[in-house]
Point group: C2
Chain length 555, copies 2
C-alpha cells in the first residue's frame, strides 16, 4: 500500500514524524541559502525565474477562466505587473470536487508521498519564492528566504506529518470476531476509509504568504481535500508559484491538477461567497480580526482555522543581563518592522523600575535604554535595511504616523524614514516606541500592527502579570515573554499563561527571539485565546479535516 | 510521572489503546449480567440500590443549591419521585473552574488513572444503573443493562483511550539544540503543558442517558476540563448516579469533587444560558435538530459536538438469504421500539422488486413479507416485551398515532398496543410499517423518531442508491445498509457512502444489526453528514478539547 514517492521521501517523513514526537530541533530544508545545498547556480536561477514573471501573465490552465487580474504593489517600489488568471469560483469548486475521488483513492501513503514531492520541488524553487515573498511583502532578503521558503516548507511538512500520523492510526481493515459462548463467534470484516471533508479554502495574508498558507494548505491536502488558495491581493505571486508547482506534481502523478487551484479575485465578495459555499468544508485564514470574525460567524458550514490579531506582550520584572535583554528586544521590535503576528506590542514594566545586574533601573531608564538599544542596533544602514525590510501596507504607514503624533502615548523613540540605496522607492521606517500608563488601555490594548511598541507602566510585577493574562484572555496573543531572576515570578507568569493559553518565552537574551517559532518544536499559537483558534501544528489542526467511513459485512 | 490508579488499571488502558488501533472486537466490561463477573449478589444489590433512590432526595453536596427538582415519568408507569438538587449555574461553573488547576496538575496519567477508576466503579454499579436506565427510558432489561452500563462504560473508556493517546503524544519537555555552524549551538529547554479548555457542558438525551453521555463526559474530563452534566429532564437518575460516583472518586483522590457536577433545571433557558456562558468551552449534545442547531448557532464560544437526528435508510437490491434478511430487519425495527438514533426509517426497494434465492419478489411482496416477519418476531409476548420495551415519550406515541392514520403512507403493518403483565401502566407499541412512493418525500424524509418505518418504492437500484446518498447528504444519517448479491451494487453503494459520509452495513442476515455500533470497532456517526458533526470516538473527538501551552528558556 505504499507509494513510490513516499519511499523516495521516506527519510524526510520519518524525520518529521520523529520531530513532532520529540519536539527537539529538526529541519528538513536548509535555512541557509547555501550553494552546497541549493546548487551553485540556484541563486542566479531563482532570481532569473522571479524576473521572468514580471510584467507577464502567469497562466495556470485552470477551469472557468474569465480574465486576468494583478495589481500587486511592491513595498520595495519595483514594478511587478504580473497578471493572474481570474476563474469562476463555481468552476474551481466543481473541478476540485471532481478531482477528490482519485485523491481519496491514493490513500494516506499516496497523498503523503505526493505532498512530500511537492515540498521537495518547492524547496528547489526557494530562491524564486524568496524573491517573490520579498518583493510582495517587504521582508528583508534573508527573512524572505528563510521564512518564505525553507521555514514555510518545514511548516507544510509538519502539517503533512501530523495528517499522516492521524490517518495512519486508522486501520484500513480489520476482522471483528466476537465470542458467543459455546456458539460460533460473530465474525465481520470491516473496512475504514479516510475521506476528505470537501473543498478547503486557504486564505493567505499579505505579510507571510507562504509561511501562514502552507500549514492549512498541506493539512487539507494530505487529508484528502481539494484546496482553493485565495492569496492576499498584494501577495499573489508566492501563492501562484506554489499552486503551479503543486498542479504540475499532481498531473505528473496522474491526479487531476484541478484538485488545487488559485483563486484571484478583485472583490472581497468573491472570497465571502467562496467561504460560505456549501461545498467548502474548511477555511484556513490568517489576517484581520474583522474578516476572521466574519468567517467564523458566517462560514458555518465549514471548520474555520483562524489566526487573527492579538496584543503580544512581555513582562519585565528583573534581569541579570540587562544589555543582552535590551539587544534581544531591539531585534524583536525591529525585525521586518514589527510586521509579524508574533511581535511584542506591549512591554509591561513596573512603575518602581526593575532590578538588574547593574543595580535598579527606573521605569524611565528602561524606556530610554530600550530606545537607545533600538537606535544602536539600527545604526548601520546595511543592518537596518536587512532587518527592517519595507513597510508592507499603507495602513501600517498610517499607524506609524498616528503613533508618531504622540496621541497614543509619549514618544520615547521616534520612527524615522530611511532611504534604501538599492530600492529608492522602498518605504522603510524604524520602530516607534511609546510610553504610557497601564490605565491607557485604549492605546495599547488593541493590535496596532507594525513597528509600534508601548512600554506600559504597571503598578508592580504582580499587576503586570495580571494585566498580561487579561490582555491575552480578552484580546489574544500569540507570544508573551517574561524577564525575571525570581523563580516565583516565573512560576506566576507560567500559571498565568496556562490560564490564558499562550506560549511563554523566558529570559531571552541570546539568539532566540520571542517572535520566532520553530517548526516541529514551537507551537505557533495555542488555539486557546482570541488571537487564534488553532495552532501550527497539532492533532487538532488535522484530525477534523477528514472523516472515517466504515463498511462491514459478515465473513 | 505515572499514577497509582493508572498502574492499577494499566491492563485495561493498554487493552483499550490496542483496540482503538486494531479496531477488532474488544470490551473491557462484560455485557452479560453474569454473577461470575459482577458477583453473586450484584443483581439483588443493584435492584435494592435502585429502589432506595425512589421517592427520595438524591443529595450531591454541590455548591449553589437553591432547591430540589424531579418529575421523571417512567415509561413503565412506575413511580419514581426522585428529587435532585437544583444549583445555580454560575456556582457550578465557578466551582468547576476552581477545581481545574489541580486536575491539570494531575497530568495525563493522573487524569486517565482516575477516569479508569471511575469507570471501574460505575461498572460495579451496572445493575443499579441498568434499572435506572430501564425505568427512565423504557428500554427492555437486557438492553438497559448492556447499553446502559457495560457498553456505555466501554464508550467512556474508548474516549479516555483516545484522549490519553493524543495527550501522551505531546512530550512534557524537550531540549532544543540548533547547530550554529562553528559557533556553539543555540540550546533551549522547552516545556509543554496540556491544559483543558475550560468548563465542558454535556447535555444528555432521554433514550440513552449514559451511552450517549459518557463519550463526551470522559473525553472532556480526561483532557483536563471541568464537566457539568445536564441530563434530559426525564432521564436524570442514571446521570445523577454517575455524577455521584465520579465526585466520590475525585474526592478520594484529592481532587475537588466540584470538578464534575449535575445541573438539573426546570427550564430550557437554564441550559441555554449555560451553553452560551463564556466559561463553557465545549458542549456535547445528543438530541433534537432544533436544539442542536440552536446550540451550533448560539454557543459560539464553545466547540459543539452534536449528535442530531437523521433518516437512516437501507437499500434492498437483492439477497440470497431472504428470510434471514427479513428476520434481521424485523429485529432492527423492533428493538427498543425503534427509539434508537441508528434505527432504519426508510427501506428503499425497487419498484420492479428484488431477486432472492427463492426467485423474484415484487415490491408488494417485500412489504408484506417484512410485515409478516415483524409480526412473527413479536408473536411471543415475552420476546415482544423484552425487545420492544416501552415508549419513552408522549411525542413518540403521537408520531405512532399519526403514522397509523395512514396519512403518511399506506399502512402495511399497524401498530398495536401490548399489555405488559409486569408493568400494567407501561406504554408498549409494536412497529408501524408504511408503504410509500419515492416521490412522497415529505413523508419519509424527516426523522420520525420511534417505531415508524417506510418501505419506499424507488424506480430501480441505481435510483435507490442515489436517493440514499441524497437523504444522507441533506438530512443526515448515522447508519445505512445495503442488501445485494451483486458486487457492482455494493461498490456503488460504498462509493455513495464515501461521498455522503455514513457508515454502511452490507448484507446483515445474522446476529449483527444495522442499528448496533460496537465500541472500539464501529465509529458511531462519521461527523461528516447532518446527523452528527462528530464521531464516537476518534482523534477529532478529543484533540480539540485541550490545548498545549509551551514555555522555553535558554540552558
Amino acid at each position: 500500500m505504499s507509494h513510490p514517492l513516499l519511499e523516495k521521501h521516506r527519510a524526510t517523513l520519518d524525520g518529521a514524524l520523529n520531530a513532532i514526537h520529540t519536539r527537539g530541533y529538526w529541519a528538513a530544508y536548509n535555512e541557509m541559502p547555501s550553494p552546497k545545498t541549493y546548487g551553485e547556480t540556484a541563486a542566479d536561477d531563482g532570481k532569473k525565474a522571479f524576473d521572468a514573471h514580471l510584467g507577464r501573465q502567469f497562466p495556470l490552465d485552470q477551469p472557468g477562466q474569465t480574465g486576468w487580474h494583478g495589481g500587486e504593489v511592491s513595498p520595495y517600489g519595483i514594478d511587478l505587473q504580473v497578471q493572474y488568471p481570474v476563474c469562476e469560483a463555481e468552476a474551481l469548486i466543481a473541478a476540485g470536487q471532481a478531482a477528490m475521488a482519485d485523491w481519496q483513492a491514493a490513500g494516506a501513503e499516496g497523498r503523503a508521498g505526493i505532498c512530500l514531492e511537492i515540498l521537495d520541488r518547492l524547496n528547489r524553487q526557494s530562491f524564486e519564492l524568496a524573491h517573490a515573498v520579498m518583493m510582495t511583502t517587504g521582508q528583508g532578503w534573508m527573512m524572505a528566504f528563510q521564512a518564505g521558503a525553507p521555514h514555510a516548507q518545514d511548516r507544510g511538512l509538519e502539517a503533512v506529518a501530523y495528517a499522516y500520523r492521524e490517518m495512519k492510526f486508522v486501520p484500513g481493515e480489520t476482522v471483528w470476531e466476537k465470542p458467543q459462548g459455546k456458539n460460533p463467534p460473530l465474525v465481520m470484516k470491516k473496512h475504514f476509509e479516510v475521506v476528505g471533508r470537501g473543498v478547503a479554502l486557504v486564505v493567505g495574508c499579505g505579510t507571510f504568504p507562504t509561511w501562514n498558507t502552507y500549514p492549512g494548505l498541506f493539512a487539507a491536502l494530505a487529508t484528502g481535500n481539494a484546496v482553493i488558495v485565495k492569496p492576499h491581493s498584494n501577495a499573489i505571486l508566492p501563492a501562484a508559484i506554489t499552486v503551479r508547482t503543486i498542479r504540475a506534481v499532481l498531473a505528473e502523478n496522474g491526479i487531476d491538477p484541478n484538485l488545487v487551484s488559485l483563486c484571484v479575485a478583485a472583490k472581497r465578495e468573491t472570497t465571502q461567497r467562496l467561504a460560505t459555499h456549501p461545498a467548502v468544508k474548511s477555511v484556513d485564514f490568517t489576517g484581520s480580526n474583522v474578516f476572521g470574525q466574519w468567517l467564523i460567524d458566517n462560514a458555518r458550514q465549514a471548520q474555520v482555522y483562524a489566526e487573527l490579531a492579538g496584543v503580544n506582550n512581555i513582562v519585565i520584572d528583573s534581569t541579570d543581563a540587562y544589555k543582552a535583554m535590551l539587544r534581544n528586544l531591539a531585534f524583536t521590535l525591529s525585525l521586518y518592522s514589527g510586521q509579524m503576528c508574533t511581535t511584542s506590542q506591549a512591554i509591561l514594566v513596573p512603575a518602581g523600575g526593575i532590578d538588574t545586574e547593574d543595580g535598579p533601573k527606573s521605569y524611565d531608564e528602561v524606556c530610554a535604554d530600550l530606545a537607545k538599544a533600538v537606535q544602536g542596533f539600527l545604526a548601520k544602514p546595511e543592518v537596518a535595511h536587512a532587518v527592517l525590510g519595507a513597510i508592507q501596507s499603507a495602513d501600517t504607514l498610517s499607524r506609524i504616523e498616528l503613533a508618531s503624533g504622540g496621541e497614543l502615548g509619549k514618544v520615547i523613540l521616534a520612527s524615522t524614514r530611511l532611504e534604501n540605496p538599492e530600492f529608492p522607492k522602498a518605504e522603510v521606517r524604524t520602530p516607534v516606541l511609546l510610553a504610557c500608563d497601564a490605565a491607557d488601555e485604549k492605546a495599547y490594548m488593541e493590535e496596532r500592527f507594525g513597528p509600534i511598541t508601548f512600554v506600559v507602566k504597571v503598578a508592580d510585577t504582580a499587576s503586570a502579570i495580571a494585566l498580561s493574562e487579561r490582555i491575552v484572555s480578552t484580546h489574544g496573543a500569540l507570544t508573551v515573554g517574561v524577564y525575571s531572576t525570581r523563580a516565583e515570578v516565573i512560576d506566576a507568569m507560567t500559571a498565568a499563561t496556562w490560564r490564558a493559553k499562550v506560549a511563554l518565552s523566558i529570559n531571552l537574551t541570546g539568539g532566540v527571539f520571542v517572535n520566532q517559532s520553530a517548526a516541529f518544536s514551537d507551537y505557533h499559537g495555542t488555539g486557546g485565546n482570541p488571537a487564534a483558534n488553532a495552532a501550527y501544528a497539532d492533532s487538532a489542526f488535522v484530525a477534523n479535516r477528514f472523516r472515517v467511513v466504515q463498511r462491514r459485512y459478515h465473513v
